[in-house]
């Protein structure tokens, strides 16, 4: 961490010596707190002060209050077993540190002496303990903190190393306790503190294993078999689908510097952490002292962390994903940052034009050229179209719009019950035919993405659209291949 700042004084002609000295000494004092030279004297190991730490839920991070001397910190953390929302219509019995997943964020300083109180709520069924990766000692505290429901265990440790660390429950069976959400982060700030940024956020990834498939409704029990096979149904940021998307997105203004404290509770998967539309200026690799720069995607091991920093230059929505990408599209690994403020066309212009592309050059060439296989106008019954359309939908559309037509909040609009689709005069034909970009409003929510042109025959497009119109309570309209052909040839 760059902390040295040499004080400098310019002495214009005519200023008195005394004033010089005064300015010089004032600046030396001001520079002191951030100079590494003073680290040795201030951190003389003498404990000063005692306070109870303020812990926060994700995505909030407690304010840093760093001092140059170690303090006694009292941490009170309560384990609560609670049934909560995992996804829309899906509930799960989570085991939590503090009442939510991930557990509360703990922020202390290098050299602090912590008195840790772990309470197990009397209504809980299971015993629990805690292993903090910031602790040097047996089990990271687990050996000393096994607590039956209705009891509190206390143990103490000294934070010898700075860094961002995971904490989690380590009661048998450990994998199950972690899989049920028992993890969180503890930040041990280096002496002098981390450099200031405008916004700090807390994000923690975890994989979840349920008896039912992704999205299957009801109270889902934990599935040990899937956990052993490492085949999760949900991969999530901050404990539930959509925890920080849409209205719950993280808010940042153009020009602000952002620091994300990112953890990966696992229990199994390693994360390919990436923010779409941003490059990490700094990555504190694995939450330690090593800083990498200009990184697009950083690996976060299970039971590990990373700190990433970047500056938001243009407005828009930044999608935070696990770039092992099916986890984002099909298992819920998505969070968002909404950047608001003035545009900067130089850095990012948005789409500037969209014209017809003629690979053969400017000569007169019609799209219906002889080289292309002529589109046969196929007459089919509505039922045939729906049946054939279903398979085509699954292979061409479902990866974004999802098999249930519900899309992905903040990214891909729903087709099920879509008012936008209903109101289109062309029954939606031009959308797969020509692609669609820019802001659209569907069922009250705005989407700003790019849907590419779909390379299929008129018949295939007609079948897909007929299927969509006849599913999920949509209008029931039929689209024929000749209708598609008309639009393709520029009706």
């Amino acid at each position: 961490m760059k902390l040295t700042r040499k004080p400098s004084v310019k002495a214009p002609m005519g200023i008195s010596r005394l004033k010089n000295l005064a300015i010089l000494s004032a600046l030396v004092y001001a520079g002191c707190s951030e100079s590494t030279d003073t680290k040795k004297d201030a951190n003389d190991g003498k404990m000063r002060g005692e306070y109870t730490a303020n812990l926060t839920f994700a995505p909030q991070v407690p304010k840093g209050g760093y001092y140059n001397y170690p303090e006694k910190v009292i941490i009170n953390l309560e384990v609560i077993e609670k049934t909560m929302r995992l996804a829309d219509g899906v509930d799960y019995t989570f085991w939590t540190f503090g009442g939510k997943v991930p557990g509360k964020f703990i922020r202390i300083n290098e050299g602090d002496e912590v008195e840790f109180h772990l309470s197990n709520h009397p209504d809980n069924k299971m015993p629990h303990n805690i292993d903090l990766h910031a602790v040097t000692g047996p089990g990271g505290g687990a050996a000393a903190s096994l607590t039956a429901p209705g009891h509190t265990s206390t143990f103490s440790f000294k934070a010898l190393n700075p860094g961002l660390y995971v904490y989690h429950c380590a009661t048998a069976p450990v994998g199950m306790h972690i899989a049920n959400g028992m993890y969180g982060l503890i930040l041990v700030e280096p002496t002098g503190g981390l450099p200031k940024v405008d916004k700090e956020f807390y994000i923690m990834q975890g994989d979840f294993y349920t008896k039912g498939k992704f999205g299957e409704a009801g109270l889902q029990p934990f599935d040990m078999d899937k956990a052993l096979k490492e085949e999760p149904d949900y991969v999530l940021f901050n404990g539930s689908v959509g925890a920080n998307t849409g209205d719950n997105a993280l808010q940042v203004k153009v020009g602000e510097t952002v620091r994300l404290y990112v953890g990966n509770g696992g229990p199994n998967l390693v994360s390919s952490f990436h923010v779409i539309g941003e490059i990490f200026d700094n990555v504190y690799v694995e939450g330690g002292n090593l800083i990498n720069h200009n990184v697009q995607t950083t690996l976060i091991p299970a039971g590990g962390t990373a700190i990433v920093e970047f500056k938001c230059e243009v407005p828009g929505v930044l999608n935070i994903v696990d770039h092992s990408i099916f986890r984002t599209f099909n298992k819920g690994a998505l969070a968002q940052i909404k950047v608001s403020g003035d545009k900067n066309d130089l850095i990012y212009s948005g789409k500037q034009s969209d014209v017809v592309y003629q690979p053969e050059g400017g000569a007169v060439q019609h799209i219906a050229s002889t080289e292309k296989i002529p589109d046969v106008v196929v007459n089919r019954t509505k039922q045939e179209r729906i049946q054939m359309g279903e398979n085509l939908f699954y292979s061409n559309c479902a990866s974004c719009h999802m098999k249930d037509g519900k899309g992905l909040p903040g990214a891909f609009p729903p087709l099920a019950g879509s008012d936008y689709l209903k109101n289109r005069k062309d029954k939606g034909i031009e959308i797969p035919l020509k692609g669609l970009s820019g802001i659209v409003k569907v069922n009250g929510k705005e989407y700003n993405g790019v849907m590419p042109q779909i390379q299929l025959t008129d018949d295939e497009i007609a079948n897909i659209l007929t299927y969509i119109h006849n599913k999920w309570g949509n209008s029931g309209a039929e689209v024929t291949s000749s209708e598609v052909g008309k639009y393709r040839n520029g009706k």
């Binding site: 047996p138 089990g139 050996a143 048998a172 450990v174």
Partner: protein, 269 residues
């Protein structure tokens, strides 16, 4: 009506309060009422020692149901030193019988509590009750052996494993009031609610799990962590429902009380 019923029950039990010794001699016949005799069996606990192939369980009697609040009430009526206000601090913690309104009354949830298992009692209290009845607490191996039996009268198309049933109970949050005895299932030994209702005290609960960290190096923890017992053992490595019971027992001390921890008594044949 309830008071009269309780009075009647406590009157019935009066002769057994005279002395422990007398109780055993006089009441063996009545004692095994509401108990089943478990046959001798070879049992493989999941934490088998390397030289063993199995543990031999000698025949013993075990209560069909866990001890209820009303049964425990008759005990404290006869033994004032075990009442909430009088019990020595050595034998309990602050939550002893916290779900009872007072020494001898349950309070507003009386009706539901009558027949539900007594909880919030320490090992000392459970042990004293069993002794008073001329019985004893079962050992861990006896209890696990009794609990290993499958559901009785299982319907043909019901293929869910008992392990899955247990895990789903572990996963559900605690209900506000413990449901009554008999509300889960009967197993092939004729015992009710060995899983799915409460955790249960055993005589030697602190013999097996020594460390608070389930990954440390002692014998049992190695088994818990790696799931690997000795080469000869045929223990079920994925029996993590058992892991959780041993883990739970390891977090207890004899004076602890927990709101979902009760007990039942055993008797030598």
């Amino acid at each position: 009506m309830i008071l009269q019923a309780l009075l009647f029950i406590s009157l019935l039990l009066l002769p057994f309060q005279v002395s422990e010794k007398v109780a055993i001699v006089n009441s063996t016949k009545n004692n095994i009422d509401k108990m089943v005799l478990l046959p001798e069996g070879k049992f493989i606990p999941f934490n088998l020692k390397p030289q063993q192939k199995f543990v031999l369980i000698k025949p013993f009697y075990l209560d069909i149901y866990a001890v209820t609040n009303s049964e425990f009430l008759t005990f404290v009526k006869a033994n004032p030193q075990w009442r909430k206000s009088k019990i020595s601090k050595l034998y309990c913690d602050q939550n002893y019988l916290k779900h009872w309104k007072s020494d001898l009354a349950f309070g507003k949830d009386s009706l539901q509590l009558l027949n539900s298992p007594v909880t919030n009692i320490s090992w000392f209290a459970a042990n004293a009750y069993c002794k008073w009845k001329g019985k004893r607490l079962p050992t861990t191996n006896e209890w696990e052996y009794a609990a290993s039996a499958d559901i009785a009268n299982r319907k043909k198309n019901n293929t869910i494993s008992i392990l899955q049933i247990i895990l789903e109970w572990y996963d559900k949050p605690n209900p506000l009031l413990t449901p009554p005895i008999g509300s889960t299932f009967k197993n092939k030994f004729g015992l009710y609610d060995m899983h799915g209702l409460i955790w249960e005290w055993v005589y030697d609960f602190n013999n097996y799990v020594t460390g608070g960290d389930s990954r440390s190096n002692s014998q049992v923890e190695r088994d818990l962590y790696c799931g690997a017992a000795a080469a000869n053992s045929s223990t079920n490595k994925s029996d993590y429902a058992a892991f959780m019971r041993y883990g739970f027992r390891g977090s207890l001390k004899a004076s602890y009380t927990v709101s979902n921890l009760g007990f039942r008594c055993a008797l030598d044949k």
